[in-house]
């Protein structure tokens, strides 16, 4: 097809020629034979009819002349035929020669074509090879590039990880420092708180002792009873009011513990007003026998 595209006229001609050649080989001989058969009747269709002597003589002369003529004619015809045959033979020879030439030419053409094809093939192979090579080269290149990219990415990744690790380390460091600072602050706070708690606890103990001294336990079974008294304290330690906020269910018990908180007044309070502020509202949990 490529060939057709490249040399349309040559190909067409070649095709037509080939076709003609084929037709000739197939039908050529038959054509000549037919002509041979057709010539026979022409030779055999001679008829003669005798009418009188004169006539016949004339006729015979005529006939003789005719015969002569005919003979001449025949001779000529034969000569013609011979000539024709010769011509034909020549023509056939020519044709044969031509054919051979054609064939030769065709063979040559074919050879040329083959050579061309081979060349083409070679070229194509070459091209393919080249292409393959190019492709391989490209592939190689691509691979190399990919490798390079990969390496680059890996490098980047490493860099990134490193950066992240660095950032993390930095962050951790910062956090550690922050934690340390917070720890110190917390410790400071806790220290303050501890001091405050300690002071509060010691006053709490004093208050507890004073309330316990003032709590006359009611007789009978009181273990298990539980009563909570909320007491509001004046700055001097006096009781503003005392209220049972969680009853034990035993009125005598409740009254005894409420009274204990009232009787314990004035409660010992720290002088430091900030510490004393813890003691404005106290909740006494009376839980006899409990720990």
């Amino acid at each position: 097809m490529d060939l057709f595209k490249k040399h349309p006229i040559a190909v067409m001609l070649s095709v037509i020629f080939h076709l003609a050649l084929v037709i000739f080989f197939v039908f050529g001989a038959e054509l000549f034979n037919e002509k041979k058969i057709e010539s026979k009747p022409t030779v055999n269709v001679v008829k003669a009819t005798v009418i009188d002597e004169s006539k016949v003589k004339a006729e015979a002369k005529k006939l003789k002349e005719l015969e002569k003529k005919k003979k001449l004619q025949e001779k000529k015809r034969l000569e013609d035929i011979k000539e024709k045959r010769l011509a034909e033979e020549k023509k056939i020879a020519d044709l044969k020669k031509q054919h051979a030439e054609q064939k030769k030419k065709l063979a040559q053409q074919k050879a040329e074509e083959a050579a061309k094809q081979a060349k083409l093939k070679q070229q194509q192979a070459l091209k393919r090879k080249k292409e393959a090579e190019a492709e391989a080269e490209a592939k190689k290149k691509k691979l190399a590039q990919a490798k390079k990219e990969k390496e680059r990415l890996a490098k980047e990744k490493v860099a990134k990880i490193k950066a992240a690790a660095d950032a993390k380390a930095a962050k951790e460091q910062a956090e550690r420092e922050q934690a340390l600072r917070e720890q110190l602050e917390k410790e400071e706070q806790e220290n303050q708180k501890r001091l405050a708690e300690k002071a509060v606890a010691s006053y709490r103990d004093l208050i507890k002792q004073k309330v316990e001294r003032n709590w006359i336990q009611p007789p009978g079974e009181i273990a298990g009873l539980n009563c909570v008294v909320r007491v509001r304290i004046m700055p001097g330690g006096d009781v503003i009011d005392a209220q049972v906020i969680q009853s034990s269910g035993n009125a005598v018990f409740d009254r005894s513990v409420e009274r204990a908180t009232r009787k314990a007044a004035p409660l010992p309070l720290p002088d430091d007003p900030r510490l004393a502020s813890y003691f404005r509202i106290l909740e006494f949990v009376f839980r006899p026998g409990g720990q």
Binding site: E185, E188, Q189, Q192, K193, A196, E197, V200, R204, I207, K208, V211, E212, R213, N214, W215, I216, Q217, P218, P219, G220, R230, N250, A251, V252, F253, R255, S256, V257, E258, R259, A260, R262, K263, R274, S277, Y278, F279, I281, L282, E283, F284, V285, F286, R287, P288, G289, G290, Q291
Partner: protein
């Protein structure tokens, strides 16, 4: 700058701390078992025609003091003596360390009766806890006073007062003829108003109250033989139970008053029998070669505890009132005897020997824990008050036997001074029916 920061920090801490515990919680796990201070102001008698021979406030004070649970304020310490609420200044009584205050008034009523009004105040709360108005005969004012004592006691301790109850006990002293004279007496719980219900030249023993307090059973050796008598207090009429050869002793009334547990030795050794008051029949409860004696009924009437030496030494055993197998209750010490149930049935009190000395102890039936309440050498015959708060017993004061009372937790002990020589075997009455 740093200083400021520090101050801010401290303030923050304090704030957070105070926010954390808005109200400081303080746990109180113990108090004191001391007596409650109470002021009992002499009752006004200006409205009584002819005045009063008895001092109600003093009787109440003595009752409460004797219980061991109260410490009445001496009158001489009182700043003023209000007789009506509007004259009460609670601050005064607070400054005197008083928890409670009782005031009262007596006025004449119709038909020679008097009306006694009294009020009880909580000094620290500044409010009235209770108030009563009681009409009574002039002759019954001691009873009214005990009634007031009961009301105050119940209000302030949560337990029913036992001041209106009585006790029976045995006295013995040399008579005019140089002979020992035995008596069973019944007195108010404060020892006043003692009345002799029976006198004998032979020993009298083991007085036992009927459950509604109208009769007393006891053992008498009159005729030199022991017999059990049941005497109705109101009439003085007494009935002798059929007596048997040997011991007839230690009567104890069943809580429903239909049966009497006692000790008989008619079949050999001393055993516990049950006498049915209605059918007048005896039923043998224990059957042992040892001495079984001193029965006492559980408050629900289902069990009977008694003393037995079946194990070699006297110990307390328990048996179903219907009979059956006896189970030993006491395992601590080599001598436990004369047991009786507390009114709630949770404890028994008994004589417990420790280091050769006889003391009053309680046994917690639930835990098996023995609690020694007294420290005498020869303490005997424990008897629970009907409210379970105290135990009467006899103890030796020098060479003389007297009565004493101990609170059931052993914390308060008090000797009772009674007329009549040697006093022993007290029996606390049930609540008045």
């Amino acid at each position: 700058m740093k200083r400021t920061m520090k101050t801010v920090l401290l303030l923050c801490t304090l704030l957070s701390f105070s926010a954390m515990s808005e109200a400081l919680r303080i746990e109180i796990t113990q108090g004191v078992s001391s007596a409650q201070p109470i002021a009992i102001v002499p009752f006004s008698t200006t409205q009584v025609a002819g005045g009063l021979a008895i001092d109600i406030a003093q009787i109440v004070s003595d009752d409460l003091a004797r219980s061991g649970r109260f410490k009445p304020l001496p009158r001489t310490d009182m700043l003023n003596k209000p007789t009506s609420a509007e004259h009460v200044n609670f601050r005064n009584w607070q400054s005197l360390g008083q928890d409670n205050l009782a005031i009262g008034r007596v006025s004449s009523a119709a038909n020679g009766m008097v009306t006694v009004q009294f009020q009880l105040f909580d000094v620290y709360r500044g409010e009235q806890l209770t108030g009563f108005s009681i009409s009574a005969n002039r002759s019954d004012l001691r009873g009214v006073a005990h009634r007031i004592s009961d009301l105050i006691y119940e209000k302030l301790t949560g337990q029913k007062g036992a001041f209106s109850t009585r006790m029976a006990y045995v006295t013995s002293k040399l008579g005019i003829n140089g002979q020992l004279e035995y008596k069973i007496q019944v007195a108010d719980a404060d020892g006043f108003g003692a009345k002799t219900i029976v006198t004998s030249s032979e020993p009298l023993m083991s007085p036992a109250w009927s459950p509604n307090g109208d009769k007393i059973s006891y053992v008498s050796y009159e005729g030199r033989r022991s017999s059990i008598y049941t005497q109705t207090l109101r009439t003085g009429q007494r009935e002798k139970l059929r007596s048997f050869k040997g011991i007839n002793g230690a009567p104890s009334w069943s809580p429903d008053g239909t049966q009497l547990a006692l000790t008989l030795s008619k079949d050999g050794s001393a055993d516990i029998y049950v006498y049915n008051v209605i059918t007048r029949s005896f039923r043998r409860l224990t059957r042992s070669y040892a001495i079984d004696t001193e029965p006492d009924w559980s408050p629900d009437g289902r069990q009977i505890i008694f003393t037995s030496d079946r194990g070699g030494k006297p110990q307390i055993y328990k048996i179903s009132a219907n009979g059956g197998q006896a189970a030993r209750l006491t395992f601590e010490g080599s001598y436990n005897a004369r047991a009786s149930y507390s009114p709630d049935g949770k404890y028994i009190t008994m004589v417990h020997r420790v280091n050769g000395q006889y003391r009053i102890a309680t046994l917690d039936l639930k835990t098996g824990f023995t609690n020694i309440l007294t420290d005498g050498k020869l303490d005997e015959s424990p008897s629970y008050a009907p409210n379970g708060s105290m135990i009467l017993y006899s103890t030796n004061d020098g060479l003389k036997s007297i009565l004493a009372a101990v609170s059931s937790d052993g914390k308060v002990r008090q000797k009772l001074r009674l007329q009549g020589g040697e006093v022993r075997e007290p029996a606390w009455s049930p609540f008045k029916q």
